[in-house]
Symmetry: none
Subunit: 427 residues, 2 copies
């Protein structure tokens, strides 16, 4: 069958449904380089603005899985369980969560990604640990998984290569925020990865791709449907992303905070969400009898963390990178901090150098935002509210501009109840 | 001010207005290669689907003009006037029109293009004249303009280079059909060219880019607004393109027909439209006192044609190239010819070799379609309706297939009124 990219693009541009043959062709031709980046980005924008129905999304996901190999961890003899977050600000949960679940008896084969837009990427964070390597062969991945019970690494070139190419492209072309593309990207990797169970952390709020609960529920239902149809036991939690998770947004800054959680400390919201997700992952994998809260207290989660990082070349005892410059933002008034907007902080951290504008750009390991108060806290005029970290201080003005309208302080005594962390559950 | 492509794309994706600074930055950065093709194509799709207002289109046009040089013909001491057609089938009007307007006292500095898709290109047509050169230096262009009063040549690389890049990108990314991008592409070239007055021939119908009058009116109003704001006295005629202009579609075939018009003959529709556009061009340039119809009759238009072609190396007395093979299509029934579809004839001529599939392909000078009847004419079964000309007769079947459904003959006595040539005028 003869096809050409402009005619596929025009179909979606003109609000038509893509046929199975069009979807199969465009994914395959894009993987082979016959469809060019500038053609795929125009199609992605048309999909973002005009949508896809569930049949198109399922076929798109399936075509991306078929663009590469599928992995199989049945030889491990242990139930496997994985988690995926749709991306937020300060969302370092994977770092303490994977070793924690491993410590409780399920294997966690996590293929992770890099930062997309204003949200951070797990691999970018872990790469701030001196020596740590994101790229593993399949054999190395299996070895780390056997030794440490968990592995976090980049998806190899063979796994959903179409998604790999498309994900990097979307990041630089303003086409990240499309439910059909988000759902198919996540699920093609997770299904091809071969995990037996999957817990989705679907973020909701200003710092998430889904700004409201209804959109997040639609995304969650779409993904749970795709996973279940593919034989993966899939559950979704919808969780709050109106304010950053924890007190840091940035690569090395978040590693430091994750280690605090594994040491039994850390910010309450990070601990709460880590434990909630660990319980879901263990239940979905059918593993019973161990409470994740205990594994944080007794050091077994930390032990798995050290084994996992070391097995991938990381030096767990080396000092983490620090940015060359710091700048403190103080509270403009006294009262109750009622707003610390996740999107504003995420864009600020991104502009400081924690994220990338183009896919080939490096990230700064030390850059980001450190928070000294969270919504609900009482603050005093002039006290430090945020510390900005960067190697490129010439971008301070641009980064600080992102905070405009993102910080709210109300008169002392204002009643304020922070959002619950977990907003909904879809199974 | 620091900018990045994803944020500019997101602004338009989310139905925002682009600021002047965003537009200036993105056009400049794209010209320099800092904004990548895949980013510009995503932005083009967002513009196509979400639109731009007149302020945005004006700024976009202006930024494309500023990406290169502007020409200036004020040293001529004569009013300048140009015409641009949005493209049609058999649309050779520029060929007789430019020398005709020159003969009436306005100088015509026309930068013209090549055919792409099913529509012909003025430069391709003129290149069928032995020796004629489309590429002139600015000095040569000025000399021809002084000597012959008119010049038709290719735009140099320095003129609106941003448009040149963007035009090629849109062609392969399904983003051609966006009124803001069409209007700014045409007007950036015409304003940079430095003409004092401009008449737009906006084609409407199956063989045109705009299939209906409302879209064509919107495009015409947008372009007239852009020209007027830039100090170019701009008028648009909306003209019929439901059937080809004249009796030929092809390169040398159309040159021959143009010379017939300059000799005082030629098909009535070509003569009518040439004179209508000449009157508009002279009025827009403020030139009075000479009737273009007289200049066709008294030989002065032909005299300017001969000087113009000769000054660009063309041999006006040499025989024009003829295709190696001809094939006659006869009328299948007797009656009234009620349909001779412009798009069908355009694609047929293109497949015979008159056009190109990719911009680096050559065209056949002699290939094309000669028509022996026009809508409204009475025809007899078996009489010649079309003669197909080509150097590659192996493509006859493919070319004839394009005519399917494009020719209609109704019973004798059927009432049929052809469309008027000029449908509307926007000033």
């Amino acid at each position: 069958m003869s096809m050409d990219a402009p005619s596929v693009i025009r179909t979606k541009r003109d609000r038509g449904e893509l046929t199975d043959a069009q979807i199969d062709w465009v994914i395959d031709a894009y993987t082979r380089g016959e469809v060019a980046d500038e053609q795929m980005s125009a199609l992605a924008m048309a999909i973002l603005l005009n949508g896809m129905n569930l049949r198109e999304i399922s076929r798109w996901t399936d075509a991306m899985i078929r663009s590469g190999v599928r992995m199989d961890f049945s030889a491990l003899g242990v139930p496997t369980s994985d988690k995926h977050s749709t991306g937020g600000v300060g969302d370092k949960i994977t770092l303490p969560l994977a070793p924690l679940v491993a410590a409780c008896g399920a294997a966690v084969p996590q293929l992770s990604g890099r930062g997309l837009g204003h949200t951070g990427g797990t691999l970018d964070k872990l790469e701030s640990i001196p020596g740590w390597r994101a790229l593993l062969s399949n054999d190395e991945m299996m070895t780390v998984l056997r030794d440490a019970g968990a592995v976090i690494c980049a998806a190899g070139d063979g796994l959903a290569p179409a998604d790999k190419k498309l994900y990097a492209l979307r990041d630089v072309t303003g086409t990240v925020e499309a439910i059909p593309l988000i759902a198919s990207s996540i699920m093609s990797k997770k299904i091809a990865e071969g995990t037996g169970a999957l817990v989705l952390d679907v973020k909701v709020g200003s710092g998430a791709f889904m700004k409201n609960l209804a959109d997040a529920q639609e995304l969650a239902r779409t993904m749970v449907g795709l996973g279940t149809n593919a034989g993966v036991n899939t559950v979704a939690l919808l969780t709050d992303m109106s304010t950053p998770l924890g007190l840091t947004a940035g690569n090395a800054l978040e590693v430091r905070e994750s280690v605090e959680v594994l040491a039994g400390g850390g910010p309450a919201d990070v601990v709460e969400l880590t434990i909630a997700l660990a319980r879901e992952m263990l239940a979905a994998a059918g593993v019973q009898g161990k409470d994740p809260a205990d594994a944080l207290r007794d050091g077994s989660a930390m032990d798995h963390w050290r084994r996992m990082i070391t097995a991938q070349g990381g030096d767990v005892d080396a000092p983490l990178p620090v940015a060359r410059e710091q700048h403190v933002i103080t509270a403009s008034a006294s009262g109750v901090l009622t707003q610390l907007d996740a999107y504003a902080v995420g864009v600020c951290a991104w502009r400081l150098g924690a994220g990338r504008a183009r896919k080939e750009d490096p990230v700064q390991a030390g850059a980001g935002v450190e928070m000294h108060a969270k919504p609900g806290d009482t603050v005093t005029a002039g006290q430090p509210l945020l510390t900005l970290h960067t190697d490129t201080p010439e971008r301070y003005d641009y980064a600080i501009e992102a905070l405009t309208g993102g910080i709210g302080i109300s008169p002392a005594g204002t009643a304020f109840t922070p959002n619950p962390i977990v907003l909904d559950r879809i199974a």
